[in-house]
């Protein structure tokens, strides 16, 4: 069974055409890095898989069933954080807030929920962080809690939207390693969006590159090369390999780095 299957999907976000008649299939238990220029629709694609936005045409199937809101088999780590002043709460309560959070009633986790919350915290190595307040945690530590939250309910598909944003290289590496380890241990499919390819090189099974309504899906070498990316961007792109690192250049500009400096428009 495929984890995600798109058939002739066209998807718009506002006036922007995100996907134009795209078909693709993501396998079970693969780690897929999702890249593309700002506004290419990485977040919108995730929201479509979650059933939060409907495609204009075509069908999206997730783990064999049509994409629908509230699918318990999908874990999701959104890019945007709550604007509410929740920094005084401890990590455990923050994670627990997502456990069966869609059900009515008092937010008192059952014994089974508690075990699951502790298990998820254990899995991401955040047992020690659970008693501290969110405001006391670093960006990387908070990402661990968010990841634990996304893992509640034993998802088969994990969507991680820009987990590396605003982390320093050291923490970026540890988040990528963590995501890869969890993906291997649980044998689940992970979609991981990012601006930069290099921190993810070691972890990736395949790359999904979005641009101008089209996608390229394949191994790093198949997708991250001059001709393939030039087709996606609609302008000449060079791919330069230096010491095992890959740089995507448009003329003299390094594309990913340049975009990293811009504020996000998702």
């Amino acid at each position: 069974m495929s984890a995600v299957e798109l058939q002739n999907v066209s998807l718009t976000m506002g006036a922007q055409q995100v996907l134009d008649n795209v078909s693709l299939m993501l396998q079970d238990a693969e780690f897929v890095g999702v890249f593309g220029p700002n506004g290419a629709g990485k977040t919108t694609l995730m929201r479509a898989i979650l059933g939060l936005v409907r495609p204009d045409s075509g069908t999206i199937r997730v783990l064999g069933a049509p994409a629908a809101r509230g699918n318990p088999a999908i874990g999701y780590m959104p890019q945007t954080r709550s604007q509410a002043p929740i920094g005084r709460l401890c990590g455990w309560d923050f994670v627990a807030g997502a456990a069966q959070g869609h059900c009515w009633g008092l937010p008192l986790p059952s014994a089974a929920s508690r075990r699951q919350i502790d298990g998820a915290l254990e899995l991401v190595g955040a047992r020690q962080l659970a008693s501290r307040s969110l405001a006391e945690l670093s960006g990387g530590e908070r990402q661990r809690l968010l990841l634990a939250q996304a893992l509640l309910g034993e998802p088969r598909l994990l969507l991680l939207d820009e987990p590396l944003i605003s982390l320093d290289p050291h923490h970026q590496r540890s988040v990528v390693e963590l995501a890869r380890r969890i993906q291997q241990e649980l044998r689940i499919t992970v979609l991981f969006t990012a601006h930069e390819l290099n921190p993810l090189l070691e972890a990736l099974d395949r790359v999904l590159y979005l641009g101008n309504g089209h996608v390229a899906l394949g191994s790093v070498d198949q997708v991250i090369n001059g001709p393939a990316l030039s087709r996606l961007y609609g302008s000449p792109i060079d791919v330069v390999h230096v010491n095992g690192r890959i740089f995507v250049m448009s003329g003299s500009l390094e594309i990913e780095r340049d975009e990293h400096r811009h504020p996000h428009r998702h």
Partner: protein, 263 residues
């Protein structure tokens, strides 16, 4: 002081309202929606004074108008964000309308102060029964709502993905807030609702990192503020609303000094 029936009534009314205000206020502070509570109380003033004109009780009028306003605020949702000026103008208009309604019903003009600043010592048996019923209803609604409410506060996008309707939750919560605001207005008046509903909750959130303890602390502080305020009012003969909001302010100040923001 308990030999007087009006004091016994006042303590009972304050208890019913403080418990539900502590719970609701906790979520209101957590969601950064405290201004909504303030706004609903102002709108309720027009309802309370208008009700007298059409011949129903001020509390009923306040409930009807603020519940409608709460539902409307919930439905508008993000569209209200950053609209401070528009909201402020509606608040001013509400107070102005309330004044106009009082003007038409001159026999009732003496009630203006009671509506604006509360008149806890004048609460009668019938009002207590209504307040108790409203408290039970609001607590039941809040209990049923609290899990998705918390989820959508902590992680709105994840909650949405898991099938929670953020708008429905927001509407239901603000309707509860509207009812509790009307209750609080019976104790401290529409202008001072913030002191009973928000100050104890905001102080409680500084005292503990745990959600459950925070809720309990919020209820306890609201109850202590209300009862101690009443006691002080009895012995000083100063207005109870003054004491209740002052204790709220002092509690918050002490909590803020003892547990300052770490950043």
């Amino acid at each position: 002081m308990f030999e007087y029936e009006f004091m016994r009534n006042a303590f009972a009314a304050a208890a019913f309202v403080a418990v539900v205000a502590g719970c609701t206020g906790y979520f209101l502070v957590l969601r950064a929606q405290t201004f909504a509570g303030h706004a609903l109380a102002h709108v309720g003033f027009a309802g309370a004074t208008g009700a007298v004109l059409v011949g129903i009780s001020p509390l009923s009028g306040m409930l009807i108008v603020s519940v409608c306003a709460g539902a409307g605020m919930g439905l508008l949702g993000e569209q209200l964000e950053g609209r401070d000026v528009a909201i402020g103008i509606v608040l001013a208009l509400s107070l102005g309308l309330g004044l106009l309604f009082l003007h038409f019903y001159t026999a009732y003009a003496g009630q203006a102060t009671a509506l604006l600043f509360g008149n806890l010592l004048a609460v009668d048996r019938a009002t207590i029964e209504i307040l108790a019923a409203l408290t039970v209803l609001s607590l039941a609604a809040l209990a049923a709502l609290s899990r998705p409410l918390l989820f959508s506060t902590l992680q709105p996008e994840l909650a949405q993905a898991k099938g929670v309707s953020l708008r429905l939750i927001s509407v239901l919560f603000l309707v509860v807030v509207a009812v509790v605001t009307a209750e609080c207005a019976q104790i401290v008046g529409v202008l001072l609702v913030f002191g009973l509903m928000v100050a104890p909750a905001a102080a409680a959130q500084r005292l503990t990192r745990r959600l459950g303890w925070g809720l309990l602390a919020s209820v306890a502080l609201a109850l202590v503020d209300a009862w101690a305020g009443l006691g002080l009012a009895y012995y000083t003969d100063w207005p109870s609303s003054f004491w209740i909001v002052s204790l709220g302010a002092v509690t918050y100040l002490l909590a803020a000094l003892a547990f300052p923001d770490r950043s």
